[in-house]
Symmetry: C2
Subunit: 410 residues, 2 copies
């Protein structure tokens, strides 16, 4: 089978993934999850006309004169239920959020008034009727649909859920994810130091990537190049919703991963994709599990995860937004490219008056994980490109750690 | 005291906050934290020259002839320690990551070869010496500083930490954050439904905002407008590193929060800022605690958190990047503005060939939390602006939930 174009591989992965069902959880656990229910308002909010400011509730008809003086007949706080009626020449001291008393139709801010005596206030501005009143139902109207199923529970959405008193909320279940590294050359994090071995970085980089999506994965450790041991680890991994295996996917005779997965009932959908780094990346499915076989090189593994596994996981989580946010940037230097593969170049971003500029992070060898650790973004070089010139416009995908910046743009 | 300009308020907050000290934690708990130590490589990585591809390790001198046929004298896997020397006319089958045997100086990819017999392979390409070999120390050089103190532990950084076998890592401590809502008008999430009350949305929106920074805050509940009860809650809150109080900060006579904080030894640094929404926002410090008094309106509370509390918390966490990532956008419609305050308009983003476009999310009343729940970003209207025209370029701050997008840009 020829290598698949990256967009075909992405489509394949998305066609084979879907949300896993729902669960009901405490609101406090809900941030970052995806709503599986429509949410409707269960009351008008605010429940009546309320003051938008601290000040005085007045009758607009009394404001015709220059600097009228009004008698303060009440003092209304948020949470009060005033029963009096404000008559001509009267007003009520009122707090932000407090109910507007009968008779009053306008709020004058405290800074536009002057106390004349304990119960008399002078109004120093003119104001049209209705000013600084928040109308009943302005925020939420009883029965109105306020949140659609599929909404991501951002902080603002969490506030709305609290406003309609959803103490429990029905959300899409999170996929259970297992991570396995394979290869005799690998040394585990707590194994004795062996200068001839290669420390297993992939398990941890993948753990960070999965955690950043809001999922706590399980590390299955290292599968050695022994058919029985490998089979056992893969069987264990196939009990999860998603299994990420790094290493052991290329064409060498010692690569047992793919045949062992097939023996275990996994149908492989592709095993080469037109992308760099990451050419040897495979995807398969069994009855209950989606399996991604990622390259052994740590940068390749991370880039393949971003392009293929992350959209699949976001899809399983119920998100509508599956792909990393992209930005148009200018290139600080030329980027060579031979047509054939989509290439992902690790870049740092800088800013000037014209916008964002992308600067490659040095060696782009897929073995050099530092290039990824230092990157803000992945520059996307289209497969047909003959190379990009310095100053040319291109697209980058923002990586983790770019939600904040050093520059204060206020 | 006159309202402070927003940048002055931000500078004040940052001057009064600093990292809280360090702790050593398990690597698995480290994603998102900030390194408090410099990290050096403790070995060369790769530990020797290794193959970058699956193929054959050959002597470049043997490649002069057209389609030379070489005798395969060994089979070298990643993790092996080959002792043989490849002689003239010989080669070794080699896997990605496997050590280059003595005598060989070049790797020919398996796809550029053809098996002639069980132990003979024909090489179908010419290649310069050194091709497809990853040199010892290419990724990491023993003793070299690879991560600086202050680095955010992104997935790539986590991979590097695993590569140098940091099973435990020293990071900046997270601030302990308490959240308190104040006001008699508020109804708690699990209180009986009272149509005249206003559900406490702020505690939960703030919880979401703090969680999104990687901190699990404590909810202290609702402080009623009773001096003794309020004092008790505030005393409780002042035992945390950061206390966020929403409501009760304006100038009305029933607002006890500020005087009570002052009685408890909190020095207030400002209580009005030239921003909308969020004009009445206060900041104070005691010996052990930073206190933000946020407005009672949920949108105002969220916007003030983003502009003032989030940079302070990021500063305490040890981050260098304190401010929300900004993007240049075009405005889909005009935005009115009176000079005086920096204004934050809730917008959704859309994309076309020219870049990002910002569309306000409807009512910008600070009571309308839905405008925030639906927003992708905050449009920054500078304080001196006389209003922005449709099509004009402006700056937005990206909010939570914008790390991913629907568009696939491959």
């Amino acid at each position: 089978m020829n290598p698949l174009a990256l967009d075909d591989a992405q489509n394949c992965v998305l066609q084979h993934t879907m949300p896993l069902g729902t669960e009901t959880i405490d609101l406090l656990q809900a941030p970052g999850r995806v709503l599986a229910q429509e949410v409707r308002a269960n009351r008008d909010q605010p429940p009546c006309d309320v003051s938008a400011m601290d000040g005085y509730a007045v009758r607009a008809a009394d404001l015709g004169a220059v600097s009228p003086q009004l008698t303060v007949v009440a003092d209304i706080r948020a949470g009060d239920l005033p029963t009096l009626t404000v008559q001509a020449g009267q007003c009520a001291r009122i707090m932000t959020g407090a109910p507007i008393p009968q008779g009053a139709d306008t709020v004058i801010r405290v800074e536009d008034t002057q106390a004349v005596s304990a119960d008399t206030v002078q109004i120093n501005v003119a104001a049209e009727a209705g000013r600084d009143i928040r109308r009943r139902g302005e925020s939420l109207r009883n029965g109105e649909a306020v949140l659609a199923a599929g909404s991501e529970i951002t902080p603002g959405v969490l506030g709305i859920l609290a406003m309609v008193k959803c103490a429990e909320v029905t959300v899409q279940r999170l996929p259970r994810v297992a991570i396995l590294s394979s290869g005799d050359e690998l040394e585990g994090l707590r194994d004795a130091f062996d200068v001839h071995k290669i420390p297993d970085a992939n398990s941890y980089a993948l753990l960070g990537q999965v955690q950043a999506l809001g999922i706590q994965p399980t590390l299955l450790g290292i599968a050695r190049d022994d058919p029985a041991a490998l089979r056992e680890k893969l069987e264990q991994g196939l009990r999860y919703d998603v299994l990420l295996v790094s290493g052991g996917t290329s064409v060498g005779v010692h690569d047992f991963v793919r045949p062992t997965l097939e023996q275990l009932g996994v149908q492989m959908h592709f095993w080469r994709v037109q992308m760099r780094p990451g050419h040897p990346v495979a995807f398969g499915t069994s009855a209950g599990c989606k399996v991604f076989c990622l390259p052994g090189n740590p940068v390749s593994s991370m880039v393949c995860f971003e392009q293929l596994a992350a959209p699949a996981l976001r899809n399983m989580m119920g998100h509508a937004r599956l792909f990393r946010r992209t930005l148009p940037v200018r290139l600080a230097q030329a980027v060579a490219h031979r047509p054939g593969n989509v290439e992902f170049v690790r870049v740092v971003l800088s800013r000037d008056a014209l916008g964002y500029m992308a600067i490659p992070t040095g060696s782009q060898s897929s073995g050099v994980l530092l290039s990824m650790a230092r990157a803000d973004a992945l520059l996307v070089v289209p497969s047909a490109s003959q190379g990009l010139a310095a100053g040319e416009q291109a697209m980058v995908q923002l990586l983790d750690g770019t939600g904040f910046q050093e520059i204060n743009d206020i």
